[in-house]
Symmetry: C2
Subunit: 169 residues, 2 copies
DNA sequence: TTGGAATGTCAACAAGGCTGACATAAACTG
DNA sequence: CAGTTTATGTCAGCCTTGTTGACATTCCAA
């Protein structure tokens, strides 16, 4: 099948992998892959009247329980008003709980409820399953390369968040 | 098809790269990287009153000049109403031109005008620059792996579009 | 103690997805 | 030829999710 470009330049000399055409392929691969990446959770969410924004909030609250609204804001890169709307519905539906900060009462610390964790599991199971299939199909070497490129593609400030999330919890 | 097995991890190889935590990292990397991926064009578009939807249309019309509306629809995966709104503004602004089909007069074939090509260049220059930087930083081996994983992550029907776009033009 | 900064909420608006209904023209089919 | 299907465009209306503006609460430092 797609052995088209697997003729790799040997050990760093050739810069053929930086041609405009190669880059264009990468751009389109990102576009199509991202659609696949979100497709499964999107389907689940749609049936519940939620969207991708709800998924993102749930995902990162799950990864960092007790996080503040402000912190979540900077990770997600949206305005607080936008996030607030999502959080409001999630709290109304009993999936997310917000507790007033003990030391700073202005802050709200966010947690998933039992139901929230259940939905998180359902969503991430679906997404992980596709990831796992892709990883397995591509193999460990490819996965290492995949991550190297993605990390280099992030904005530096987002890289900070990413690194932080990679720390052992 | 001769190399169906070649993507399987060799027996005895560690499967550590398939742990839930590894997958979670990959998921978050996709999220942050995609933001970086779209950030530069988004900035340019915003100043002109356009959005990502316009960029996608311009990108694929540029890649396949003379494509029909229906074809573009299936690549972009949106409804015709949604695409039509975008195309209408692009044509009104003189960036895209639509010509009635010669053999089938129901079809509209889409082309970029001079101005459209100029904008396309501006957008893809910005996006390619980031891609190029990421590619260079990660190296050719990593790029090969990057593509392998992305291709495995696509839906199969989207893979078809992707492969088609990779054919020599 | 008082004013500014930080945090979060509510309201209103815009972009861009979506569905449904309908119109037109051209192509195809019996 | 009549009827159906296909390709496209348009209108109306809804939803999600981004935006800005206004405002309340809380903290902290001068």
């Amino acid at each position: 099948m797609a052995e088209v470009q697997s003729t790799q330049p040997r050990s760093g000399e050739s810069l053929l992998f930086l041609t405009d055409d190669q880059l264009r392929q990468g751009i389109e691969a990102m576009f199509f892959a991202y659609r696949g990446f979100t497709a499964d959770p999107d389907r689940i969410l749609q049936d519940m009247g939620y969207g991708r924004a709800h998924h993102r909030a749930i995902h990162f609250i799950n990864g960092a329980p007790g996080t503040t609204v402000n912190n979540l804001l900077s990770i997600l890169g949206v305005t607080k008003q936008s996030l607030n709307r999502v959080l409001r519905t999630l709290m109304a539906d009993g999936l997310v709980e917000s507790r007033v900060g003990r030391v700073d009462k202005r802050e709200r610390h966010l947690f998933l409820t039992e139901a929230g964790e259940a939905l998180e599991r359902k969503l991430s199971d679906a997404q992980r399953e596709r990831m796992r299939a892709a990883y397995r199909q591509a193999g460990p070497e490819a996965v290492a390369g995949f991550k190297r490129v993605l990390e280099a593609m992030m904005d530096t400030d987002l890289q900070r968040h990413y690194q932080k999330l990679r720390e052992p919890r």
